[in-house]
């Protein structure tokens, strides 16, 4: 069976992964240019490593548990997000949170004197995430703009607005806006127990709801129209699903930052697609990949003080993604390459067997085509070469393969002969070819002179079932061990 082409969702995942890579590469090269790598990238000592691995630090413990659960929740909700083909909408809504955060900060500073109440900031973020999403929907419904343009417009306008309000917020005399930037780039180090608790509760809730509404969510992701005809409240379920995404996004803002939180939603499910074609398995894998990214990323960041956790978490997710892209069992590149390779080996093998068989067939005597050829007077390599469009190199390799499998043997004079096993195999191949030729002549009105080529391209994929079908349609040929060739052999 053919491997699937990369899907839209995995492309979106690729995009996020590339973005994260570029971001970090850029950062690394800047650091390098300043000659700072030696000083600022401190490798951990063995002791520090042990401390982090055993979660001995209270602070590290809080951070790692928090990001792990965040990854888990993002992996679950993200699965439905990409299946609903809304990966980029989540990007837009996460950027749209910025003005909400800045405005919430200003309002709280004016009213309470201190603007840094996490709940207030998150509430502001959530309100603007919803506003941003509704803006996209409104533009899509009432203007001629296409989806991608609508998403782009809303993303940049809200983000620009956020930066502007942020500028005002930082210049306010009374407030202390120092930590606000962490919402853009993420800063796990400042995570408190209360933050981790909030993430944990959200994650468990989101996870439970995803499992509870698994049937409903998968239905509207696959076929919303059909769901509507059955009476499911599609719009409300959609809203509910997007609410889960918004909630996971805003609680993740502080840890990963609003630019990168979308990566945690998109990359784990895209990674999971390379391992399973079952939604339930994919959901579990996606949660596991998300959790692993959060855990490993935060762990590495805790060990190396200068690596920001958000970026490391996303890079960890990206590493898992690239590993799966290459080694994945469903549509992974390596798997696809191997399938292609084994098919081309099979084609070469079958072509060689048939060429040698037909060579011997015509060598035994033109008058007795089809009689059992005796294994004498085989062709040389140079004689086989012009019979097909194969290169000398690949022909040589193919013949070596044949000899190694003991299907052919080479005489001292460089002639190739069948072994008993090889002859048996060749009969099967030739029979398949001739059955198909006969089928083309009798059932597809093809001229006998043309069928060789037609059979040549297709015979390698004929399986037992098709052969049986052919035999039932060609009762005259079925009992013959090797039917005669309908055309003159070369």
């Amino acid at each position: 069976m053919m491997p699937m082409p990369p899907t839209l969702s995995s492309l979106a995942g690729l995009r996020s992964a590339l973005f994260a890579t570029l971001l970090t590469l850029g950062w690394a090269s800047i650091a390098h240019a300043g000659g700072l790598v030696g000083e600022h990238l401190q490798w951990p000592t063995l002791q520090e490593l042990l401390r982090v691995l055993t979660l001995r630090d209270y602070n590290t413990r809080v951070v790692i548990v928090g990001t792990t659960l965040l990854g888990l929740a993002a992996g679950l909700t993200g699965t439905f997000l990409i299946l609903r083909k809304r990966a980029l909408l989540s990007d837009t809504l996460s950027h749209a949170t910025l003005p909400g955060i800045a405005l919430a900060f200003i309002v709280m500073t004016l009213l309470l004197g201190d603007g840094k109440h996490l709940i207030g900031l998150i509430a502001g973020a959530a309100i603007f995430a919803v506003l941003g999403t509704s803006s996209v929907l409104l533009i899509q419904r009432y203007s001629r703009l296409k989806n991608d343009a609508a998403l782009g417009v809303v993303l940049s306008v809200y983000f620009g607005l956020g930066i502007a309000i942020m500028g005002i917020a930082t210049r306010m005399a009374s407030g202390n806006a120092a930590g606000l930037n962490s919402f853009i780039y993420g800063k796990t180090a400042s995570m408190l127990f209360a933050d981790a608790l909030l993430i944990a509760i959200t994650a468990l809730l989101a996870g439970a709801l995803c499992l509870l509404f698994f049937k409903e969510f998968s239905l509207i992701c696959f076929d919303a129209d059909f769901a509507a005809t059955q009476g499911w409240p599609v719009a409300r379920l959609d809203f509910f699903m997007m609410t889960l995404v918004v909630v996971v996004t805003v609680v993740g803002l502080q840890a990963v930052g609003l630019i990168l939180v979308v990566a945690l939603l998109i990359i784990p499910p895209s990674t999971a697609r390379f391992w399973s074609r079952r939604l339930s398995v994919m959901l579990g894998l996606s949660a596991a990949f998300g959790a692993a990214s959060g855990m490993i990323g935060a762990g590495i960041s805790a060990l190396m003080a200068n690596l920001p956790a958000g970026a490391v978490i996303v890079l960890t997710a990206a590493s898992l993604f690239f590993f799966s892209l290459v080694f994945g069992t469903t549509g992974g590149l390596l798997r696809m390459a191997m399938e292609r390779f084994s098919l081309s080996r099979k084609v070469m093998r079958e072509n060689l067997l048939r060429e040698l068989y037909e060579w011997q067939e015509s060598a035994t005597q033109a008058g007795e085509i089809g009689s059992e050829p005796l294994p004498h007077a085989g062709p040389r390599l140079e004689e086989l070469l012009p019979r097909r469009s194969w290169s000398a190199h690949s022909l040589k390799r193919g013949l070596r393969q044949m000899v190694r499998n003991r299907w052919m043997e080479a005489t001292d004079s460089g002639r190739y002969l069948f072994t008993t096993a090889g002859l048996e195999l060749a009969r099967g191949v030739v029979r398949k070819h001739r059955l198909w030729e006969a089928y083309l002549i009798t059932h597809a009105d093809t001229a006998p002179g043309q069928v060789d080529w037609g059979a040549d391209t297709i015979e390698h994929v004929l399986d037992e079932r098709i052969i049986a079908e052919l035999e039932s349609r060609l009762p005259g040929l079925a009992p013959q061990k090797v039917p005669k060739s309908p055309h003159l052999l070369r």
Partner: protein, 278 residues
């Protein structure tokens, strides 16, 4: 001839209710009318083809009956009551291209979706429902592919999965949107056999169809559609050269030109797109 199938008389609703009754239905996409003043009364237990040129509004007719696209005006009744009240009586086979076949589910999973309404909120698909899904697949000759991921099926096999999902709905009226489009011979035969079976069981099937050659062989009734209903009735009466000419010929260019012009105007009526949830 028309009086039977094209009637605005309200009294029809009072009597023995027809499976499908459509009155004065007009549908517009972005204020551009696609269906214009459609009146239809379709009889029970028949195989009914909806035929017409591209852009005639065949799919839109089905979708507006099912409430998937908003109606500008008009009234639709299924067995005498609104569609919302009669959902359980209706099965739907959407166009095959309307979904992403790369979706990570198996053929049996898709068929089980036809049972979701019966299963209800939150409860998972039980073993019994799964067995029923496989049973529906058997009816379309696909039980061997129950666990196959849907992207690995051929186009015809995917179409049969969609049919099995509709069968799982166990409806009295079926709407099928181009089930014969781009399918192999085996699938075409399977669909025809299935339609006959449904008819024998007294079900009503409304099928959007594009192949004029097979209308007479496959269907009892035909609705000739080109933005409006050109003719509707038994195939032998209605499926005439003259009616086909009216449906496919250029006689409607003036109407469509006028409607196009109408659509270019600033807002006349409010053209909502409430039903579009994509």
């Amino acid at each position: 001839m028309f009086s039977l199938f094209k009637s605005k008389s309200e009294t029809i609703v009072e009597q023995e209710p027809f499976p499908i009754w459509v009155n004065d239905l007009t549908v517009a996409y972005h204020r551009k009318p696609v269906l214009w003043d459609v009146d239809l009364t379709l009889p029970e237990g028949k195989l009914i083809a909806v035929v017409g040129p591209n852009g005639a509004g065949k799919s839109t007719l089905i979708k507006s009956i099912l409430g998937l696209v908003p109606r500008a005006t008009g009234d639709v009744r299924i067995y005498g009551r609104s569609y919302e009240a009669q959902r359980r009586l209706v099965g739907y086979v959407p166009q095959r291209e309307s979904v992403d076949w790369d979706f990570p589910v198996s053929a049996a999973d898709v068929v089980a979706m036809g049972l979701y309404g019966q299963i209800g909120w939150i409860k998972p698909v039980s073993r019994r429902h799964r067995e029923q899904a496989v049973e529906e697949l058997r009816k379309v000759g696909m039980e061997a592919y129950a666990d196959r991921q849907i992207s690995q099926l051929s186009g015809g096999q995917q179409q049969r999965v969609f049919l099995a999902r509709a069968l799982a709905q166990d409806a009295r009226v079926y709407f099928m949107d181009e089930p014969f489009a781009g399918v192999d011979v085996a699938t075409e035969k399977a669909i025809v056999a299935l339609l006959k079976e449904l008819k024998t069981a007294g079900k009503t099937c409304v099928v959007v169809h594009h192949d004029l050659q097979t209308v007479t062989a496959y269907f009892d009734h035909v609705v000739l559609l080109n933005m409006r209903v050109v003719a509707a009735g038994p195939v032998e009466e209605v499926f005439t050269e003259e009616n086909l000419k009216k449906t496919y010929g250029g006689k409607l260019t003036l109407l469509s030109q006028a409607l196009h012009k109408y659509a270019q105007q600033p807002v006349i009526g409010k053209g909502g797109t409430k039903g579009e949830h994509r």
